[in-house]
Amino acid sequence: MKKKNSVFLIITIPAFLLFFIFHSYPALQGIFYSFTDWKGYGDWNFVGLKNYLNVFKDGRAGDAYLFTFKFAIVSTILVNIISLLVAIGLNSKIKFHKTLRAIYFLPYILSILIVGFIFNFIFAHFLPQIGDAFGWEFLTRNILGNPDLAWIGIVIVAVWQAVSFNTILYLAGLVTISEDLYEAASIDGAGVWTKFWKITFPLIAPFFTINMVLSLKNFLMVFDQIVALTGGGPGKSTESISLLIYRGGFEGGEFAYQSANAVIYFIVIIVFSIIQLKFLNKREVEN
């Protein structure tokens, strides 16, 4: 028995080493450099908490936080509503439901950058043409060029792609619910609406939790979609925190400063995930 344990221990060592070298160590390094004035190369000095204080004074970081949270909250809600609806539809006994499942999963396989470029084309050429043809004034301009609407374009693309993965998770949840429950409910005279709120929704609560947490976390780290669609523009209206950290850190020579920003953001994401888990888990237990 003892020998077996040590074997398992040894098996974990390579994974642990790889994880530590390529993940934990750079992360720790980043935290370390956030207390310096390092530019990414050359000499550096300790500057204490100066970088952190500057982040709080930085209006640009503030705007990026506002945009990111607005985007993440709206997208999370939309993704969860749409993917739950799609999952319920795909779970029912309709024709071609297996083929349809494959089709609905397709967006997830495509690279975000490719999806971004396709949508870029749609927003820049296809929609304005429709607008021109039907005389709809609001559609005749590229919405990605409008600082008040550009974020909606990004929400559309992000949601379109994210729905596929969340649908799969909801589907996995739906198949765990036994048919008997629905039959019993039907005998008691429950309608579709009652069945959903009293049976389906409570029973997939764990899946709801995981989907909410995962999608909020993913949307808070939004990066690729923005690079492909607007590059943070027009102006700075769609500059997310990840984009700001990347731009400032690698292109702007503010490595240490943006490391501090990244550490703060890391803490913010953890706090939000924990709050969400606590709140949603409580709901699960009550049911």
Binding site: P147, G232, G233
Partner: protein, 410 residues
């Protein structure tokens, strides 16, 4: 059991290090392999043919070309790893200034090659490094120009003449607009395209040494860029209906297909426009920013400079390649293919398209890109883009000042 496992792990790591050893290359077959890093995707083919020529002349040197996308970011990451390429062909902008100050590039000050370059360009790159680094760490090679490109057929159709003053320029824009045509095709979805006009205006109105004065506390955007902002706002009025929604690539196509009379771009856009419409007849002129034709200078920057890593093991071979590039014949070949201009004295771009700005190069009526001297972290182009949407001049200029100071204080 344990022994076997460790042996396995050892073998794996050994294998990995062997693989790594292979990829770093070296001089094992008597040949020296040099890495040439280029920040321009557009010049890959030109470089490839030049390298072939060089390798034929120097059979013991092999040049490996590396031209990745997002080149500046890649270069900065490699700087962090202390793994700079042997030879670098990069733009004369803020990134070059940083590299120069970091002391990782070979100092060319005083060597004979610097004497073949037009002094104004040497001065331009020296100012990028600033007094902290003092030295010439890159040899200016190819240069570019910010211009007003115009569609010759449409130009004649509207009965226009090349304007020499700002008022004349605005009058011709007005004339085109009155005739129901689009004067300028803006592509402001890509924020950097707004900087073309900004740089022409800024260089001529606020002066070449704005950045130095600003850092010394003697100049501010609020005081010196007021006129620039006004003129920017004026220009955007002569755009099309979706100025903010069209990107650079689409703009090139639209202009090539006669969607507007003028196009504010650099010489680098011309090959792209001709690709979309090979038949098109184009002309260029420097944007007349003031009402005194004597004072209007062409904005031209160092598009490509050649630098050699301080730490390269093959300095002699690397210099050989640089010398090869700097010969008049190679330089001429490069600018002919790239539709660029040469920093080397006596090498001129003879393409008829550039007739309108040729005089500027010959008489030296050129000035540098102001934004190359802005701190890289301030993201000026997005601020300018925001201004062109909101048109809130006072707030915008104050923000430019505060962002600059904020970045400098980090």
């Amino acid at each position: 059991m344990f022994k076997k496992m460790t042996a396995g792990v050892m073998a794996l790591t050994l294998g990995a290090s062997l693989l790594a050893g292979c990829s770093s290359g070296g001089a094992d077959d008597g040949k020296v392999t040099l890495e040439l890093f280029s920040n321009k995707v557009e010049s890959i083919d030109t470089y490839k043919s030049l390298i072939k020529e060089f390798e034929a002349q120097n059979p013991d040197i092999k040049i490996k070309l590396d031209a990745p996308p997002e080149a500046e970011t890649v270069l900065k990451t490699r700087l962090t790893k202390n793994d700079l390429p042997d030879i670098m062909s990069i733009a004369g902008n803020a990134t070059y200034g940083e590299l120069g100050r970091a002391g990782v590039l070979e100092d060319f000050s005083g060597i004979d090659l610097t004497k073949t370059v037009q002094p104004s360009y040497i001065d331009m790159v020296n100012r990028l490094v600033g007094p902290e680094g003092e030295g010439t760490y890159g040899l200016p090679y190819a240069t570019n120009a910010n211009a007003v490109i115009y569609n010759k057929a449409k130009f004649e159709e509207h009965g226009l003449e090349v304007p020499a003053t700002w008022d004349e320029f605005i009058a011709s824009l007005e004339k085109v607009k009155a005739a129901g045509d689009t004067p300028i095709y803006f592509t402001l979805k890509d924020a950097w395209t707004g900087m073309i006009a900004w740089n022409s205006l800024g260089a001529n109105v606020a002066g070449e040494d704005f950045a130095e004065k600003k850092n010394a506390g003697e100049a501010t955007f609020v005081e010196n860029y007021d006129e620039v902002a006004d003129k920017m706002a004026t220009l955007v009025q002569y755009g099309h209906k979706d100025n903010m929604g069209v990107a650079y690539g689409d703009g090139n196509n639209a202009f090539a297909n006669g969607k507007s009379v003028f196009y504010l771009q650099g010489n680098w856009a011309i090959p792209e426009i001709l690709k979309a419409n090979p038949e098109m007849e184009l002309g260029v002129f420097p944007m007349p920013v003031t009402n005194d034709p004597e004072q209007n200078k062409l904005v031209s920057g160092v598009d490509v400079l050649l630098a050699v890593s301080e730490e390269t093991e093959h300095n002699e071979e690397a210099m050989k390649f640089v010398e090869f590039m700097m010969t008049k014949e190679t330089a001429q070949k490069y600018i002919d293919e790239q539709k660029a201009f040469s920093a080397i004295e006596g090498v001129y771009q003879e393409n008829p398209v550039f007739e309108g700005i040729k005089a500027n190069f010959e008489t030296g009526a050129i000035t540098s890109f102001p934004d190359h001297y802005y701190p890289a972290g301030m993201g000026a182009e997005n601020l300018v883009q925001e201004f062109l949407i909101k048109k809130d001049k006072e707030k915008f200029l104050k923000k430019m000042d505060s962002e600059w100071e904020k970045v400098q204080n980090r």
